[in-house]
Symmetry: C2
Subunit: 209 residues, 2 copies
Amino acid sequence: MKIYKIPEATVMRLSIYSRFLHQLSGEGIEKVSSGEIAVGAGVSSAQVRKDLAYFGEFGTRGVGYKVDELYGHLLKILGLDHKWNVIIVGAGKVGSALALYQGFKERGFTISAVLDVDKSRIGTKLEQVEIEPMEVLNQRVKENNINIGIVTVPASVAQDVTDKMVAAGVKAILNFSPRVLKVPNYVILRNVDLSVNLEVLSFNLGMHR
Amino acid sequence: MKIYKIPEATVMRLSIYSRFLHQLSGEGIEKVSSGEIAVGAGVSSAQVRKDLAYFGEFGTRGVGYKVDELYGHLLKILGLDHKWNVIIVGAGKVGSALALYQGFKERGFTISAVLDVDKSRIGTKLEQVEIEPMEVLNQRVKENNINIGIVTVPASVAQDVTDKMVAAGVKAILNFSPRVLKVPNYVILRNVDLSVNLEVLSFNLGMHR
């Protein structure tokens, strides 16, 4: 199967489709049309078909998709057919909430380690994971086969933490700090700003004023 | 200024551009090219020009953009030229982290109220905001002129909470629960799944395997 460059918005929608299919499967539903997926995901059915078409032919014309089969395909496409180990650096409010977030586990992401420089935090536990000092970064990444790092430190130290993660062998970074980060070409970087979500709302509210 | 239908991805990038311009302004930089914005935001300069073109002509060919002027335009486009009051329902881990998140305040979003049904949480404080019972929902929305609601409750009660928010007069909802929600046409709904961000990484890691 040849993979073309896939827009990020498509990947995000595939994630939503897969969640909806999981919900249907839980309700014992076996077949679904692109129109029904569209309603469930809040997009057009043309969008659903276009998104899925990047990855080949899944459905049968006039019959639709087999729920469990399409769900399995989407998990595979999303790289969720195996487990990923994740390290969080920065055990403040956002870092702690992420470490405790149940939704990650459900999708196959295990928070393997949480690091911080604050001595008052080190040694305390976030469920099963103990907060450890930055010094164990290299060891944890290697031992636990960690591919993904989450940066939840203040902006002033975000680049330094990122550089250390990359040096330790982390291949993909999710940046929650408001800093624009630099990473080598072979590292995947994704910036998350929680405010952006509110700004999409304020943009739309502003348009309707 | 005529506003065409703007892709959500564009709105999200405008938000990133505005943050980068704010950073430049803080460094005393007065002029910037689309190429420089592109590098700062991690996109192509053609993308920057295309995104800005939705809203008219900002820059001067060969000269670029005035940092403060473009920043002001972007804030206005994003609806950030005035303050927004926000209510959070669900003071669990995610809700509490959001209530305490400094980034919202910086962008003009004030968490005016946090509600929960859990008696052990009601009366405790998240910085200045006291957690209150659901019964005050209508009153808070009216008194504090709240337009935006954040849903951080378990999936099983998310639709019920959303219905109550809409009835109280909330015009835009940010849904952090894994539930697919239904809202009337005049209400703006945005689903945030924190796992999706990790899935964009695992998708890309999977592609490179």
